[in-house]
Each structure stands twice: as C-alpha cells, then as structure tokens.
C-alpha cells in the first residue's frame, strides 16, 4: 500500500530531506536544519501560470524582432533567431543549425506548451498518465537552460566584432526579449510542484 507522506501527516524538508510530522501551524521549521517547512510549493499553479503568460507574450518579439545587427564594408544586415539558423544551414554547418534551431525555437515553445498542459491537467484534477506527466516535467526541467545558447552566441559575437574597424555587430531588441523568455520559462518550471500531479489521485480516492 503506497501512500504520500502528506496523507500520513508527514512532510519532507526541501533542504535536508528529513521526514518529519507536519506542523499544525504554518511557517514551522525543520527539526534538523531549521528550514521553514511547506507541504507543497506555495502558490505553485498561480505562479506557474503568471510566468507562462509573460513568456508567451515575449516569445513573439523574441522571434520576430532582430537579435543581431551586422554592418561591414559590404553592407549591413539584421538577423532574427530563425535567419541565424538559416545562415548556419546554408553555410554547410547543418548540425549546428539543428542544435540552434532546437535550443532557440523548439525548446522554449515546447516548454511553454508542456508546462501549460501540466498546469492545466493539475487544475482540472486529471488523473490519467501520471507517470508520463512526471517524466515530462523532469525533461522540461533538465532542458530549460539550453535555450540560453543564442544569447551566449550573440554576446561573444558582439564582443569580438564590435572593436574591429571593418565590421560591427550590435545586439538587437530580440536578445532582451529572448533572455526574458529563458528566465521566465525556467522560473515557471521551478515554481510548478510535480507532487500536485499525484495529489489529484489522493483527493479523489
């Protein structure tokens, strides 16, 4: 018979992992490490939704505005995230084009959609596919940082080329929007409490 700690009036400390009896009053401390205990992450769903809405709003300018301006003796051009991928593809580095495409375009969008689906499934008390949803959450948490790839590339190109006389590279407004999307989706993933996926089962049972 498997039961959650919370059902038995127990909870695990998020810092040191010690299982202790759930205190009656809010804000009690872990007996071992004195960390404030909480049964679940406070305001998990509300925070997750708020971060997601902000991320969706910024995802649009991040992909439509230029992320980088290049000017040289041969003229000037501007790059969006997608045109940067196409440049890599055309110049023969199809493997890098694929990596950047995955990290910059697919991963953020997939994270937003998957987290929204997870949050909605918990909100609606859905009880199916719990193990799959738990696995999906772990995947989202682990791939989140990779979206920073394009920001790092822009930072290095800007630093290398801005000082030369023959060419100049400037960061565009999409860099700011895209950086915000990365931070917001990571914050959304971290504010979601995966234990809520399993709580629905117990409430119904």
């Amino acid at each position: 018979m498997s039961r959650a700690a919370a059902e038995l009036g127990l909870l695990a400390c998020g810092t040191c992992g010690l299982v202790s009896r759930a205190p009656a009053a809010a804000g009690a401390a872990c007996p071992r490490c004195r960390t404030r205990l909480a049964l679940r992450k406070p305001g998990s769903l509300a925070r997750c939704w708020a971060y997601l809405v902000a991320a969706v709003a910024l995802y649009v300018p991040a992909n439509t505005l230029p992320i980088m301006y290049t000017s040289s003796l041969f003229g000037s051009s501007e790059d969006t995230i997608l045109s940067g991928v196409l440049f890599l593809w055309d110049s023969g580095s199809w493997y890098l084009a694929l990596i950047v495409f995955l990290a910059s375009i697919v991963v953020p969008l997939a994270k937003i959609i998957a987290l929204a689906a997870l949050a909605a499934s918990v909100q609606l008390g859905w009880r199916g596919h719990r193990a799959e949803r738990a696995r999906l959450y772990r995947l989202i948490e682990s791939i989140g940082r990779w979206s920073m790839l394009d920001i790092f590339v822009v930072a290095l190109l800007v630093a290398l080329v801005q000082l030369t006389a023959l060419a100049a590279v400037r960061a565009g407004p999409a860099a700011l929007a895209f950086g915000a999307v990365v931070v917001l989706t990571m914050a959304a993933a971290q504010s979601f409490d995966p234990r809520l996926i399993w709580d629905a089962e117990q409430r119904a049972a």
Partner: protein
C-alpha cells in the same frame, strides 16, 4: 518511530522505507521514477577535491580570452567579462547581467558554497548558516549554465569561421574542462551523506 528510516519522494511525495545499510548506490522512486538518492564513489572528500579544481578552472576561464579573431591583420579577443561589457555599452545591461549570472556568478556561487560547507566538515565543524548556504548550492546548480556556454562558444567559432580566422582561447579549454569537472561533482556529491555527517538524525 525513527523518521530517518523514511524517505519522501521530492517529486511525488510517496513515503518509502530507506533501505537498510549497506544502502544501494542509487534508489529510484517506486511510483514516479525520480532519483531518490545517488551515492557518489569517493564521498565528500572527492567532492571537495573536485570543487577546488573547478574553482581554479573557473578563475582561469575568466582571466583569459575565450575566442580570438583575426581579420586583415587586426586581432581582437573576447573574455567573458568583455562580452558582458560590450552588451552593457550597447544599452543591453539586463542581457549582460543574465550572461554573467548564468555563465560565471551561478557556477561560482555553487562551487564557493560547496567549498564553504565541505572544508570545515572535514574537521567535524558545521559551518555557520549551513542550511542557508546549502540552499544556495541547490539554487545555483539549477541556474548555472557552463555546458551551454561552451556550446555557445563553439557555435560562435563556426559562425565567425566563415568570414575570419577565429581561434579558441585558453579560457574556452578551461570552460570545457570545468564542464566535465562540474559533471563529476554532480555525480560524486550526495546531499544525504552531507546531512548525515552534520547532524545524525
């Protein structure tokens, strides 16, 4: 009831018995498959040694250029701080801070916090503010992105390689090594061992 005999899964809250010693190397949650704990090979001693190594690599990685560009007899180098400064001067202070935050500050915070906890513990001393510093390790390990930065530098290398001569610098090698050492830290560090040494529950 001795509560140290129980574990609650951090991802689904299932209460489970801790295996009696000798415990297995790795335990997965019976319900959701999350890793409950994973015991490192060399214990905390090895984690500390790796942490010191990583701190040295991180210092070197920030003292030398990551990439050097040669275009028509003109050479420019980019350090990480230089990249952040360039973004800052282009009215992108938030992006500059984000780059420093994920590529330098968070790895530094994770490593410094680990060293702060582990060094005194060798002599059985519990460092002041132990739990708060441990939470710094937890937070910083989620936000540090050393491996992503290494890949970003490689992408930049290829992108610029089409129009100019670009060479990887010492710092890029250091960042590559740092990536491997930090992966080794993650594999060897067992928080349960840490807490058991601090205060046997």
């Amino acid at each position: 009831m001795n509560r140290a005999q129980f574990l609650a899964c951090p991802e689904c809250d299932l209460l489970q018995h801790d295996a009696p010693s000798p415990r297995p190397r790795k335990a997965l949650c019976a319900r959701c498959g999350a890793v409950l704990y994973e015991r490192g090979d060399g214990g905390l001693e090895r984690t500390l040694a790796l942490t010191v190594t990583a701190l040295v690599l991180l210092a070197l990685a920030n003292a030398f250029p990551i990439l050097t560009l040669e275009l028509q007899d003109e050479r420019t180098s980019a350090t990480l701080a230089g990249a952040a400064a360039a973004l800052w001067s282009q009215d992108m202070p938030l992006v500059a801070i984000l780059v420093l935050f994920m590529a330098v500050l968070m790895p530094l915070a994770e490593l410094a916090a680990l060293a702060y906890l582990l060094l005194p513990l060798r002599r059985g001393i519990r460092a002041a503010g132990f739990a708060a510093v441990f939470r710094v390790v937890q937070f910083a390990s989620r936000w540090g992105a050393v491996e992503v930065f290494v890949l970003g530098a490689l992408v930049s290398l290829v992108k610029l390689g089409h129009v100019a001569d670009v060479e990887p610098g010492i710092a890029l090698l250091c960042y590559g090594a740092l990536m491997l050492v930090m992966a080794a830290i993650e594999a060897s560090f067992d928080p349960r061992e840490l807490w058991a040494r601090v205060a046997p529950a």
